[in-house]
């Protein structure tokens, strides 16, 4: 079924399907329901990176280099991880400045220089033409091979084809038609080609599926899985060497590293990648999914490359079939007609996707950055007076598309046979890598100047041309081959492939090293030794600080002059067409809350900048600059003024940062103050409580002393026993009063830090035992059992004997106080615990609620409700104990649950320097 007409019908059906998809997507876009507003479509459209070179050429390269093809696909993975930092910035810059191509981007950054835009365009066209010819060659070759079915004959042996039957030319013309239909349908300031992107995303799916299909067929159909293919390769003496040593197979590690770098740059700076990744991006957030989906796509399309390469090498006798065609010839050799057809379509989709996007991107560059600046400068053409230039613009772009494709075709006819697919592609990669220093430098380094960029681009391009392009010409017999072998005029030092004697490197590595040295060196060197103009300075600041400014009005601050809205309208209408211009003006007017036409639109700096940006979308930044300048009277700003505006802006930013900082500090201070105030109020309340409690505690004994004294005074007849009883009470109450006052004095000394500490070496066991003896009377009175669990020996520690006794006394008397008479049981335990001595005093009293536990060591706090419960102590004992324990660096705490045992514990450190006397 693989007759010529079937293949042609299927191919046209496929291209027709592409047209249909693109048409549908464009219709949807016009209706406002975009199909490309999806991260998945965005990620798939990035797959335009995988061209016919990937589809056919990877296997070819793998067949000679083993893993050597992989850096081309690993590099993008490494680069895309940086996209969140780099690409997001580039996308934002392009959106704000309506930049529509790579050339426009670089020209805008360096002072909207038409010269730079032109140079970039020339480099891009010269660099990419071989790459386009590679695609045409792949399609033409695969077509020729399929046509020979069931024979497998290499195209080189088919012989010359008559001009009319030339597939490559036919393909080139059909693709030109497609690119014109969907790339230059209308002029749009945003330059989104929704139909094209939808078609490209679809093509990415087709080529992936086709490649996976043939990969699975060969790996699992012809062989029994990956292991089998490799095992057979291992068994073949011809292939064994390819299975391991990287340095012998893929060239040196230097080649590997440089190929990685090259592909890292290519994924950003190939015009088609810039087009789909930046210009066609409709939402920055799509980067999120793309960052991992696109590398995954690369991984998937590469999994079967090695099995296919080894499968092909094993299957065909050495040298009979070009490894670049294994993908197609393997299914053909196995009589899998449908699969072969699918592969052919897959290859077609890979090639067409690349060619369509690349030519559209290049045509925008050629039109906006090469042709228009020249035309606008040629006064003879009187373009300034033409009413409608949209037709001219579209015409130039269409012409550029056809021209680029024809150039590609020409290159294919003349030089295409000399190289394998991969080598041609790499030459193009090296060309676009020359954009890297000026773009990356341009968005992160303010200092790059127009002259620096020009010097860098020119130097890099020249070295690239000399080391890669001239040898390619020499191989195609355009130049004497002796030029390659002995250098120009016999000067070996200038040998283009061993420049200055740098040998033992592959051509690409050699060219990259020299061109990057020349490029970066000239860019940095000249930038540092030349001054920026006002325009350059302002553009540099707009690009580098894009995230620090908001909205498109950023550039408006740099403009001063007078303009009239109708004149600006006329200008815009000439390039965008009246309808689009009307829409643009109405959009702006709506934002300002006025009507257009109707109300007077104030043609202020912001508005002029807005119009210029819109215009830049259609004709490029440098041309837009010239056109706007022709209808408005503007005052040129000096470099000092621009610098001042930039500085002011950065100062304002700095001030606002400072203000934010200050206000945050203020807030923190306020919070602190509020907390301090609350604490003070709490202390005040505590003081009040303290005074009232103390007064209360003092008054009770005083009242009783006074009443009994009065009774004694008024009743002299009282009998002696009664009198003695009363006097006993008075004495007891006086003692209580004294004790209370002593405690308070003690506490105030403790709190003010004026207590005297009499440090001696004490044995905790002694202290506990003597305190137990002293309190035994209390326990007996209330019939509460007191038990002690003391170890045989504990280390001695240095402390004030009386103070420690006081702590234990407080805990014991507390315990007995809260125990129920008769049933109470108090237990004292002593233990050594990790450098501390620990004393536990537990009782089976009513327990303490968690709320009370928190405050029980505060002054005058007692467990229970102060209103209803009768107070059972001064409420100072625990507070004093707390101070004493704290003084020795120990800890005191309580563990209790209401109804369960309550345990008061404290620790004192063992190894302690004796505390200085009177220390706090």
């Amino acid at each position: 079924m693989l007759q010529g007409w079937v293949i042609i019908v299927v191919s046209f059906a496929y291209l027709g399907l592409l047209f249909a998809i693109a048409y549908y997507a464009d219709q949807r876009a016009d209706a406002g329901r975009s199909v490309i507003a999806s991260p998945y479509v965005y990620s798939l459209s990035l797959g335009v990176y995988a061209t016919a070179w990937t589809f056919y050429g990877s296997v070819g390269r793998a067949a000679s280099d083993g893993v050597g093809f992989l850096p081309i696909y690993i590099g993008p993975t490494l680069m895309i991880a940086l996209w969140w930092v780099v690409m997001r910035k580039i996308i934002r810059i392009c959106k704000q400045n309506r930049i529509t191509s790579l050339a426009d981007f670089i020209a805008s950054r360096y002072g909207k220089s038409a010269l730079i835009g032109g140079l970039v365009t020339v480099i891009a066209v010269v660099g990419i033409v071989p790459y386009i010819s590679l695609q045409l060659k792949a399609v033409s070759n695969s077509f020729t091979i399929v046509l020979q079915y069931p024979e497998i004959v290499m195209p080189a042996k088919v012989g010359a084809v008559p001009f009319l039957h030339d597939t490559a030319l036919g393909v080139a013309l059909i693709l030109a038609a497609f690119a014109i239909a969907f790339g230059t349908r209308h002029l749009d300031a945003a330059e989104h080609h929704q139909g094209m992107v939808a078609a490209i995303a679809f093509e990415s799916l087709v080529k992936l599926l086709a490649f996976l299909a043939v990969g699975i067929f060969v790996t699992f159909g012809l062989y029994n899985g990956f292991g089998d293919v490799f095992a057979r390769a291992e068994a073949s003496s011809r292939l064994r060497t390819m299975l391991t040593p990287l340095d012998a197979v893929a060239g040196s590690y230097a080649s590997w590293a440089w190929l990685t770098i090259l592909s890292m740059l290519a994924i950003m700076f190939l015009p088609r990648q810039f087009q789909v990744a930046v210009i066609e991006n409709v939402d920055e957030d799509h980067l999120n999914k793309a960052i991992w989906l696109f590398p995954l796509y690369m991984l998937a399309i590469n999994i079967f490359v090695l099995p296919l390469a080894f499968g092909g090498l094993l299957h065909f006798p050495a040298g009979s079939v070009d490894a670049d065609t294994f993908v197609l010839t393997l299914p053909m050799a196995e009589r899998q007609e449908l699969l072969a057809l699918l592969v052919f379509i897959g290859g077609l989709s890979a090639a067409t996707g690349m060619v369509i996007v690349e030519t559209i991107a290049l045509s925008t560059m050629v039109c906006n950055d090469l042709v228009m600046p020249v035309l606008l400068r040629l006064r003879v053409l009187r373009l300034n007076q033409r009413r409608d230039l949209t037709g001219l613009l579209l015409g130039i772009r269409r012409g550029a598309i056809v021209l680029v494709l024809l150039l590609g075709y020409l290159y294919f006819r003349i030089a295409g046979e000399a190289y394998a697919l991969v080598s041609i592609g790499l030459i193009s990669f090296a060309a676009v890598a020359q954009f890297a220093p000026v773009v990356l430098g341009g968005i992160f380094w303010r200092g790059g100047t127009r002259r620096g960029a020009l010097a860098g681009l020119a130097a890099g391009f020249l070295v690239w041309f000399y080391t890669l392009m001239l040898p390619a010409f020499a191989r195609s017999d355009w130049l004497p081959i002796g030029f390659l072998e002995h250098g120009p005029f016999g000067l070996a030092l200038l040998n283009p492939q061993q420049l200055f004697g740098l040998a033992r490197l592959d051509h690409i590595t050699h060219a990259m090293i020299w061109s990057m040295i020349a490029n970066i060196g000239a860019y940095v060197g000249v930038s540092l030794s030349t001054a920026q103009s006002a325009e350059e300075h302002r553009q540099a600041s707009l690009f580098v600080d894009v995230f620090k400014r908001s909205g498109e009005a950023g550039g408006a601050r740099f403009w001063r002059g007078t303009a009239s809205a109708p004149e600006l309208f006329d200008l815009l209408a000439r390039f965008l067409g009246p309808a689009s211009a009307q829409a643009v003006f109405q959009d702006y007017a709506r934002g300002k809350g006025v009507q257009w036409p109707g109300d007077d639109l104030l043609a202020d700096a912001e508005f002029v900048h807005y119009v210029e940006t819109q215009l830049a979308g259609a004709i490029g930044a440098s041309s837009a600059r010239i056109m706007v300048a022709s209808v408005v009277k503007e005052e040129a700003l000096t470099i000092e003024e621009v610098r001042q505006i930039v500085d002011e802006a950065s100062q304002v930013v700095a001030y606002s940062h400072q203000l934010e900082q200050k206000s945050r500090e203020l807030e923190a201070a306020t919070t602190e103050l509020r907390a301090a105030n609350e604490r003070l109020q709490e202390l005040d309340r505590l003081k009040d409580d303290f005074v009232s409690t103390v007064s209360h505690e003092l008054r009770t004994p005083l009242t009783s002393i006074r009443s009994f004294s009065e009774i004694l005074r008024e009743d002299p007849e009282m009998d002696l026993t009664q009198r003695k009883k009363f006097l006993d009470i008075i004495t007891k109450e006086t003692e209580r009063l004294t004790r209370l006052i002593n405690t308070i004095l003690d506490l105030s000394k403790l709190e003010s830090g004026t207590t005297e500490w009499h440090e001696t070496s004490i044995d905790m066991k002694d202290v506990i035992e003597s305190t137990m003896t002293a309190t035994s009377q209390l326990f007996k009175e209330k019939n509460v059992r007191l038990e002690a669990k003391l170890p045989e020996r504990v280390p001695r520690l240095v402390a004030d004997f009386d103070r420690v006794t006081q702590v234990i006394f407080n805990l014991l008397s507390n315990a007995v106080k809260f125990c129920e008479a008769g049933k109470g049981r108090v237990e004292v335990a002593l233990a050594e615990d990790n450098g501390f001595l620990r004393v536990d005093v537990s009782d089976n009293g009513p327990g303490i609620s968690p709320k009370d536990q928190k405050v029980i060591f505060d002054k005058f706090r007692q467990a229970g409700d102060a209103l209803t419960d009768k107070p059972r102590g001064t409420g100072l004992g625990l507070h004093i104990s707390f101070h004493i324990v704290e003084h020795y660096g120990g800890r005191i705490w309580v563990t209790s649950r209401p109804g369960k045992r309550t345990t008061f514990s404290f620790t004192l450190p063992l190894a302690r320097e004796p505390a200085p006397v009177n220390a706090t």
């Binding site: 893993v67 992989l70 850096p71 690993i74 993975t77 490494l78 680069m79 895309i80 991880a81 940086l82 996209w83 969140w84 930092v85 899985g225 990956f226 292991g227 089998d228 490799f230 095992a231 299975l243 391991t244 040593p245 990287l246 340095d247 590690y253 590997w256 590293a257 990685t260 999120n288 999914k289 960052i291 991992w292 590398p295 995954l296 991984l299 999994i303 090695l306």
Partner: protein
């Protein structure tokens, strides 16, 4: 703002990790004869490491910003 920055930094770190893993001398460690499940060591290492790197990138990008702050 800060979340975006942290995400960016994590991705840059992954990129640097990738540059390390897919270069001399780490590659040299796996550049020797022998197979893993029938696949030559070097090929197996490259594809597995590549897959893992992509997985990590997906993790960083797709994790909702519960990070750092």
């Amino acid at each position: 703002m800060d979340n975006l920055e942290i995400k960016g930094q994590r991705l840059v770190a992954l990129s640097m990790l990738g540059c390390l893993v897919f270069n001399y001398p780490i590659l040299e460690l796996f550049n020797r004869p022998g197979t893993i499940l029938g696949i030559p060591v070097l090929y197996a290492f490259i594809f597995v490491a590549w897959g893992l790197l992509i997985a990590l990138m997906a993790l960083v990008v797709e994790t909702k910003s519960r990070s750092g702050r």
